[in-house]
């Protein structure tokens, strides 16, 4: 990427961040809602730690992985609703008339979203630590966690931008929220997969990629450097990112039918 392209990408990313920062609802909701759900589940499901074979004594530590995935989801929806709005209002057309390369438009958008997701993740981590969660993988693990968060956000973000570019409709992107939500709830979000009693649910959670994202984050918190689980998380996030990015690039190409 040339220096100009980098500057342009940074400018577009910055715009995405500024735009979010100036809408209080889009700042507060992704910070507060996952924490609320964490509080509810950490309290209500604490008894689970008494099940034989449960991996930790602290359900809060166990459940802390969820906000990282959930926060990335919410950030994805918000940012891509904005992206779809750019298409609807013609803002994207305005940018398309400049000499900027199409891919820069997409990368800038994704970069802004990544920044937001990582900032949120730092907040979740701080809250977790403040309430007594001890990261088994130590400080290096926290850094790794943020890196993983960036990959997870990239995976969702590129799928989200694909939807935005493909449909150009804010409602359609908003409609993704329940879909993501279903993936989240039918995962190992609330219980380790080996403790799921219902066969069908265990099967669904096993084929659900979200389980592996959560488990990788969780490993860094409650287990330590479990390379296999962490690696699997990165692999799933990376695979989804590549898949989503390919789709998004294709959709961008169709959308900017410019000659």
């Amino acid at each position: 990427m040339s220096a100009t392209a980098l500057v342009q990408t940074a400018a577009l990313g910055k715009r995405a961040v500024v735009r979010t920062a100036r809408q209080p609802a889009n700042v507060v909701f992704p910070l507060v809602f996952p924490m609320l759900l964490l509080a509810v589940n950490a309290g209500g499901l604490k008894a689970e730690t008494r099940l034989p074979g449960f991996p930790t004594n602290s359900f809060l530590a166990f459940a802390l992985a969820v906000p990282f995935v959930q926060g990335a989801l919410i950030a994805t929806i918000n940012a891509n609703v904005e992206f779809a709005r750019d298409i609807q209002t013609g803002f994207l057309n305005r940018l398309a008339l400049t000499p900027v390369r199409g891919i820069v438009l997409l990368v800038g958008q994704l970069g802004g979203l990544l920044t937001i997701a990582v900032a949120q993740a730092i907040f979740y981590l701080a809250v977790g630590v403040a309430f007594g969660v001890h990261l088994q993988s130590g400080f290096g693990g926290a850094v790794m966690l943020l890196l993983l968060e960036a990959c997870i956000a990239l995976a969702f973000a590129s799928l989200g931008s694909w939807a935005a570019l493909r449909t150009g409709s804010t409602e359609a992107v908003q409609g993704l929220f329940p879909v993501f939500f279903v993936f989240l709830f039918l995962s190992s979000m609330n219980i380790p997969r080996n403790l799921i009693q219902a066969d069908w649910f265990r099967w669904v959670a096993t084929v659900n990629p979200v389980s592996y994202l959560i488990e990788a984050v969780r490993a860094l918190v409650i287990t330590g450097w479990d390379w296999q689980t962490i690696g699997l998380g990165f692999a799933v996030a990376g695979g989804l990112s590549i898949f989503g990015f390919a789709l998004a690039t294709h959709a961008l190409w169709n959308r900017l039918e410019r000659t």
């Binding site: 100009t4 500057v7 342009q8 400018a11 577009l12 715009r15 500024v18 735009r19 100036r22 809408q23 750019d86 209002t89 013609g90 803002f91 994207l92 057309n93 305005r94 940018l95 398309a96 008339l97 400049t98 000499p99 900027v100 039918e257 410019r258 000659t259």
Partner: protein, 336 residues
């Protein structure tokens, strides 16, 4: 020759079909000379925006060719984009960014940086009269301010050709006039070629050196406003009988002087005169002899609307098509 090609627009047999829908643009030929303001006049849905999108490389034509600034819009897209500036129909601004931030983003996208960027932004903000509002979010801008910012954004890279798609639709009279002045200045002083679409005949009349009238994707008339009106040549007389029952009598008298056309309002009768210098005195005498009483009698000089009427059989404004926009147009000045 080379210099003239550089700033001109040419299209031959330009067509655009959408999958679902009509031929939005149905074979357009046009030529805009350097430094000229070309007014593309037509009602809503005529195909103006589609034409602009094709000429600005945002939409590939289904058939036909076009060159802008001497470059082919299909094969030389990037070169065309470098030469042109465009303010599209939707003033596509981000409500959460300030005017200055918009300029910053736009200049960056054009590869203008550092000191030059600051100077250019300040200069443009001054020129469109937004210096004071520059650091306010666009959310709080009026329609006129948004349009002016839009124009400034289109100008950051000093384009030689400027496309403006309905730049004044929905604006109040003052904002509209201010924009006309600025566009006129760009063409006269800086030699920028302007391709401007509009639904308002007055705008085309005042601003454009040459006008193309488009309807259903085809150009139905083209020329200087004077030439177009001269083609129609004849004035229209409009009369409103004081007593609606006398309508028939008025029509029969007036029809001796010309052919009845669509009226200007309810209860009014309009006749396009057949002789060039409408002899009002004779008409008044004839009406008097017919014993009819009028509450109103007017001579209308030919306008671009008459040209449109003559070519399509419909009026340009208030002809159904898009009521809402017309309402807005009437309300705006009242609010200002």
């Amino acid at each position: 020759m080379e210099a003239s090609r550089e700033n001109s627009i040419e299209a031959h047999g330009l067509v655009r079909e959408f999958k679902k829908g009509p031929r939005a643009v149905d074979g357009i030929d046009l030529r805009v000379d350097p430094g000229e303001i070309y007014g593309f006049l037509g009602p809503n849905g005529a195909g103006k925006s589609t034409t602009v999108h094709m000429l600005t490389t945002l939409l590939p034509p289904t058939a036909g060719t076009a060159t802008v600034a001497g470059y082919d819009v299909v094969t030389e897209g990037p070169k065309v984009r470098k030469a042109i500036g465009a303010a599209l129909q939707e003033a596509a601004l981000d409500p959460f960014l300030t005017g200055r931030e918009h300029l910053r983003l736009q200049t960056t996208m054009h590869g203008i940086t550092g000191e030059e960027r600051r100077e250019r932004s300040d200069e443009l903000l001054t020129r469109v009269g937004l210096t004071e509002a520059a650091d306010r979010k666009v959310k709080g801008y009026s329609g006129g301010m948004k349009r002016r910012l839009d124009l400034a954004l289109a100008l950051v890279h000093r384009p030689r050709i400027l496309f403006l798609d309905e730049p004044t639709t929905g604006l109040d009279v003052q904002s509209r006039t201010a924009l006309w002045v600025e566009v006129g200045r760009l063409a006269k002083e800086e030699g920028v070629t302007v391709f401007l679409t509009t639904q308002y005949l007055e705008e085309a009349d005042v601003l454009a050196d040459r006008v193309g009238i488009i309807d259903h994707g085809r150009i139905v008339a083209e020329g200087t406003p004077e030439k177009l009106k001269a083609e129609i040549a004849c004035s229209t007389v409009e009369a409103v009988p004081a007593d609606p029952d006398q309508r028939g009598a008025v029509v029969s008298v007036l029809e001796r002087f010309g052919e009845q056309t669509t009226g200007y309002g309810p209860g009014s009768i309009a006749v396009q005169l057949t002789s060039p210098n409408g002899n009002l005195a004779e008409i008044v005498r004839a009406l008097d002899a017919g014993g009819v009483v009028l509450s109103q009698l007017q001579i209308h000089e030919p306008t671009l609307d008459d040209v449109f009427l003559a070519k399509t059989g419909r009026h340009l404004e208030g002809s159904g098509g898009d009521e809402e926009e017309d309402v807005e147009q009437e309300l705006e000045p009242a609010r200002a």
